[in-house]
Amino acid sequence: MENRAVDLSAIERIEAARTAQITGAARPAKVVAEGVDVYYGAKHALKDVSVDVPDRGVMAFIGPSGCGKSTFLRCINRMNDTIPSCRVTGKITIDDQDIYDPALDVVQLRARVGMVFQKPNPFPKSIFDNVAYGPRIHGLSTNKTELDQIVQMSLQKAGLWEEVKDRLQDSGTSLSGGQQQRLCIARAIAVSPDVILMDEPCSALDPIATAKVETLIDELRSQFCIIIVTHSMQQAARVSQRTAFFHLGTLVEEGPTQLIFTNPKDQRTQDYITGRFG
């Protein structure tokens, strides 16, 4: 029909305007991946992934189990280095610095790229020491007062301070699951990282604890570049500004979260988020 041509250009215009509005498109990219391939031995786990992750925002990685989203997440702080059969090719930069540069200190990299795991994993130490651990080993404080300040600020940012300020010497493992996860987030932000990676941070938490962690993520995004892997579509929709869908090792579609969840372009994305294949 002759009206179609007119309509499509209008659609593109609307989408462009919306995209700029939702994602703050002018924001510079923090993490840039170009043509990343990952092999576990002979298995080609991640195929030619290229994506820009903007600073000061949350990007969600979604996709079925085994799609490569966690593998990709682990490339960003080089956790895959610990797996002997794993081989990574392509380029990943953080602030234009190649993180696979042989001259790069991996320990320093992991201080810049914090990680929060699926199951809360506090050290079997006091709440204080859990948070103070990173700043101590990276020498971020020169005296006790400074360290106290870092610990307090990190716990405050993680929304945990009010709940634990009178029991900082209690063991981190004595906290509830949700509190432990927020303690792990406090531990991650104590070293002032640039990027925080979260691998299903709420899948072991009840809905209330999940809501608290999601609120926290929403507050932290003004200061950090956050990447979250989640199996909960609703969670991705709630906390992220951009969403990337992985399937069978490829990045199928990446875009503003609002568009991905209301009007995805790729049929595979549509099928996955509407529950049409698993």
């Binding site: 009206n3 009007n263 529950g275 698993g278």
Partner: protein, 236 residues
């Protein structure tokens, strides 16, 4: 389209579509009955039209309830989300179409005892046929998810508006000719306005079908043909 992994979700969507199809069918039938009753001055047909509006209202309540339950239970996304929200809005339009048709049937009851000149009905019949065909096409576009068909309906509504304009003038002329016609013509005028409004609801449905298919609204201003609300007609 692939089926949902959760079969009961798939069944719920199909049930929703069935209810919509049923509602659409009822609305079409009600409009046809109302206009036939007006043309034939058939009070019993008019009464049965008035009574059958209750079925549409009932269906709308069922659709609303089902949509709310599905949002709570399934948290639909992407095309499912658009599907469910669109159906809810379309159900509202169909319910209004039912009300407007019922209003025509009531007017048919009011004027059933009058005799009126044949040309009065010709324009009315013609306009109704246009709207009926629009309504049929838009309901088909919903079932077939055919955005182009919906867009065509959307564009063609201005013909209905133009028809309403001319009917409006015609009725005014009859009233000016003989004040005894005023009562009857007023009923016809409101009847014609109702049909014009049904056309508008039909275009709303078309807009929703387009959104359902493409995920973005129609990006044009709709051509409007009804100028009666901005025109003053005076007897000379």
């Amino acid at each position: 389209m692939n089926e949902h992994i959760v079969r009961s979700y798939e069944e719920e969507l199909k049930l929703l579509d069935r209810r919509m199809a049923q509602m659409g069918g009822c609305a079409e039938k009600l409009l046809g009955q109302a206009i036939d009753a007006l043309e034939r001055r058939d009070p019993s047909l008019a009464e049965s039209a008035v009574a059958s509006d209750a079925t549409i209202d009932q269906l709308e309540r069922e659709v609303q309830e089902q949509v709310i339950i599905m949002i709570g239970k399934r948290q639909p996304l992407a095309n499912d989300l658009r599907h469910i929200m669109t159906v809810l809005k379309i159900a509202g339009d169909l319910e209004r179409i039912g009300d407007l048709s019922k209003n025509i049937a009531k007017r048919a009851l009011a004027v059933a005892g009058e005799s009126y000149p044949k040309p009065l009905m010709t324009g009315m019949r013609h306009m109704t046929e246009m709207v009926q065909s629009q309504l049929k096409d838009v309901l088909d576009s919903l079932t077939e998810l055919d955005a182009n068909k919906a867009l065509k309906v959307w564009h063609e509504d201005q013909q209905v508006d133009a028809m309403y304009n001319s009917l409006f003038r015609e009725l005014l002329t009859y009233m000016m000719e003989d004040p005894r016609n005023i009562g009857l013509c007023t009923h016809f005028l409101f009847g014609a306005k109702n049909i014009e409004r049904i056309g508008d609801h039909t275009t709303n449905i078309a807009e929703n079908v387009y959104y359902l298919v493409h995920g973005v609204p129609i990006a044009e201003d709709r051509p409007k043909g009804d100028s009666t609300s901005s025109t003053l007609f005076t007897a000379r």
